[in-house]
């Protein structure tokens, strides 16, 4: 009992804008009952790839483009949901890929594809139509080749070649029990199509997407009809320290949020990967055990969150809060953060060292402590430098090497290639850490600017507040 919506992936609260004003989308159709009916109208139309659904007027607007089309832009919208045909959004192939409508246009050996409407350098029999979807030079599978989408190549010596697009079944993996999986697999292990989560048929269920919505929502794979559990997605093999296959690299690339590497003595980001043994709150209140329901009843039972390591009464972050936290042993205080756990320094490994404040550093490190490439001192973009090789000749501002032309006490720095970060300190450390001149010895003169004034606090203090 599949719904026409099954062919669509929704982005809630999103509008797809076409930046070329000469191109006009279809008219709004107000005589539809719901998004499903819109899907029923768009689905069979070859020139309909997506539609807007107005959640207040219940109207819909058919669109001949998707977010992957040129000159389009996704925009937040208070009134629209955007439904796009999955075939045009997927980056992997289902079955042999005859329905693939993605935009990959290179072959397995990296050769650019020849346009389907071109007969040179390779002549062929295909004529692009809306039905066969032979668009531009995108990989396609017009003849049902078991090897999946392919294309003619621009290399006269290689007539055609496969594009090597992964099967959706192989392209995804889950961590642990897959509770963080947000990918687009919509088939069960036995190949049965999943029901959409936002539909209550054929099976009624309590999992309303609205309850779990994040700002950008993809269709969540539906009810799993295979009694055996979480469908066809393989569990990732445990990462064994090879950074090329580190969890972060693999996980991210396959529609899986970044998987925190676990830390024991500090926490990174929101601390979701923290696995240390701190068991008091910042205020020093002992934490309640996760497997206890008193003094505070809660739903974070360790067996239900097996990936979150809810052992004993250790501070953890099982729900994406700002930092590790716990239920407290104090009846009047339900939960509290454990900010006393220090944050891990997220600097990259230092590659060199400098003396003093680094004013004389003349090495060739050209990366910031976050690993961002330095901008050349002689360049004007992305940042207009105040210090240039001509304005500070004594600093030998060569290429994009880290230097300290303004005698910054925190060491060599550079302008960065990140448009959002004008400057940053470098992946360097002090050579003579122990010989740093102490600031605690000489008294300093006190010179203050115009500031630090306020109404006499004591009067206000004594007077009763509003």
């Amino acid at each position: 009992q599949r719904s026409p919506l099954n062919d669509f992936q929704v982005l809630r609260g999103t509008e797809l804008q076409h930046l070329l004003h000469t191109v006009v989308p279809g008219p709004w159709q107000e005589d539809v009952a719901d998004a499903e009916e819109c899907a029923g109208r768009c689905g069979p139309l070859l020139d309909c790839r997506a539609f807007h659904y107005n959640v207040s007027s219940h109207g819909c607007q058919l669109l001949p483009w998707t977010q992957n089309s040129p000159h389009t832009r996704l925009q937040r919208s208070g009134r629209c949901d955007l439904f796009q045909k999955k075939d045009y959004i997927r980056t992997c192939i289902m079955d042999n890929g005859v329905r693939y409508r993605g935009t990959i246009a290179t072959t397995t050996s990296g050769l650019p594809c020849q346009g389907w409407s071109h007969k040179f350098p390779n002549d062929h029999k295909y004529t692009p139509t809306l039905r066969n979807g032979l668009e531009e030079n995108f990989c396609r599978n017009p003849d049902g080749d078991p090897g999946g989408p392919w294309c003619y190549t621009t290399d006269p010596a290689v007539r055609f070649q496969s594009c090597g697009i992964k099967s959706c079944r192989e392209a995804a993996c889950i961590w642990c029990n897959g509770e963080d999986y947000r990918g687009a697999v919509d088939r069960t292990e036995s190949g049965r199509e999943c029901q959409r989560w936002d539909l209550q048929r054929p099976h009624q269920h309590p999992f309303e997407p609205g309850k779990y919505v994040k700002v950008w929502t993809t269709t969540i794979a539906g009810i799993l009809t295979a009694p055996s559990g979480p469908g066809a997605i393989p569990r990732t093999r445990r990462w064994r320290g090879n950074s090329a296959t580190s969890p972060a690299a693999v996980g991210r690339s396959q529609a899986q949020p970044r998987h925190e590497v676990t830390t024991l003595n500090c926490f990174r980001g929101k601390g979701e990967g923290y696995r240390g043994t701190a068991n008091t709150t910042t205020a020093g209140v002992p934490c309640q055990r996760w497997d206890a329901q008193s003094p505070h009843q809660h739903r974070f039972a360790p067996e239900k969150y097996e990936c979150k390591d809810l052992r004993e009464n250790f501070c953890r972050n099982p729900d994406g809060s700002e930092a590790p936290w716990c239920f407290t042993s104090r009846p009047g205080m339900r939960m509290a953060f454990c900010y006393q756990i220090r944050r891990c320094a997220d600097d990259v490994r230092t590659e060199d060292c400098y003396h003093g404040a680094g004013e004389q550093y003349r090495g060739t490190v050209s990366k910031t402590r976050k690993g961002v490439q330095c901008q050349h001192w002689s360049a004007q973009t992305p940042h207009r430098p105040q210090f240039t090789p001509t304005s500070a000749p004594h600093s030998q501002l060569e290429e994009n090497f880290c230097r300290n032309p303004d005698r910054d006490s925190h060491g060599p720095w550079c302008y960065t290639m990140d448009p959002g970060t004008p400057f940053d300190y470098c992946a360097l450390q002090r050579c003579d850490r122990d010989h740093q001149a102490s600031i605690l010895d000489p008294p300093d003169q006190v010179l203050f600017e115009k500031c630090g004034k306020r109404v006499d606090r004591l009067d206000q203090h004594r007077s009763k507040l509003r």
Binding site: R343, K370, Q386, S409, L440, F448, H461
Partner: protein
């Protein structure tokens, strides 16, 4: 703030997340710049959409139409030098200075507050039931030397940090106060000498509290605002 009293601190700001909840303090060092603690943010590059700075009120939950309340979105975050535990926030627009909103001075570079100087902390954070949790609380603390502080902290306090004396009663900053000021009255000006950072335990009696020493990072602060 534990062991504090309701009070006024016009340079102390409240950092608000997307839900409008107070989560940290901050200090207004320029009309468009707030200095706060790195601990308050999960990353130096996190999206700041929806984060705001609230100023000009003493209330933790001011009414939207409260006179004098200023709500300014945070536009940019710049993390301090490694080990500084500081963050500078650039606001989308300059705040309006008035009786309720004032700048606090920055100390000279590498200035060391003389031991015994009376200072104050301010914040809307956890009071452990010792104060009025609905308004800004202020507590007085006296500075001690790093040498004295390191006796209890067994040499772990760095020169880029400073300490205040532990009192017999629990008095000090706690969760929700991080990023707020340790302000000292020097030469008839209030100067931002320290930034509240998490300690192992809040307001531990007879135990010196540790703050980041702002004077060590003043050159960075000026540089960021200039660049």
């Amino acid at each position: 703030v534990v062991g504090g009293q309701p009070g006024n601190s016009p340079w102390t700001v409240s950092l608000r997340n997307r839900q409008g909840q107070h989560f940290c303090g901050g200090s207004l060092v320029k009309e468009q710049w707030v200095l706060t603690a790195r601990q308050c943010f999960s990353s130096c590059h996190m999206p700041l959409t929806g984060y705001e700075v609230w100023l000009g009120t003493l209330f933790q939950d001011p009414q939207p139409e409260e006179p004098g309340l200023q709500r300014v979105p945070v536009a940019k975050m710049v993390c301090g030098p490694s080990g500084s535990q500081l963050v500078l926030l650039k606001l989308e627009r300059s705040v309006t200075l008035n009786q309720r909103v004032a700048l606090i001075c920055l100390p000279p570079e590498r200035y060391v507050v003389p031991p015994g100087t009376q200072c104050e902390i301010a914040g809307w954070g956890e009071s452990k039931g010792t104060g009025d949790g609905t308004v800004l609380n202020v507590a007085l603390l006296n500075v001690i030397s790093n040498r004295e502080c390191n006796i209890k902290h067994r040499g772990r306090v760095r020169e880029s940090e400073m300490c205040t004396k532990g009192l017999l009663a629990p008095v000090g900053a706690c969760e929700g106060d991080y990023g707020g000021p340790l302000a000292c009255f020097t030469h008839d000006c209030w100067v931002l000498e320290g930034i509240i950072i998490p300690n192992r335990v809040c307001a531990r009696p007879r135990w010196p509290a540790v703050f980041m020493r702002v004077s060590v990072f003043v050159d960075w602060i000026h540089k960021v605002m200039r660049l």
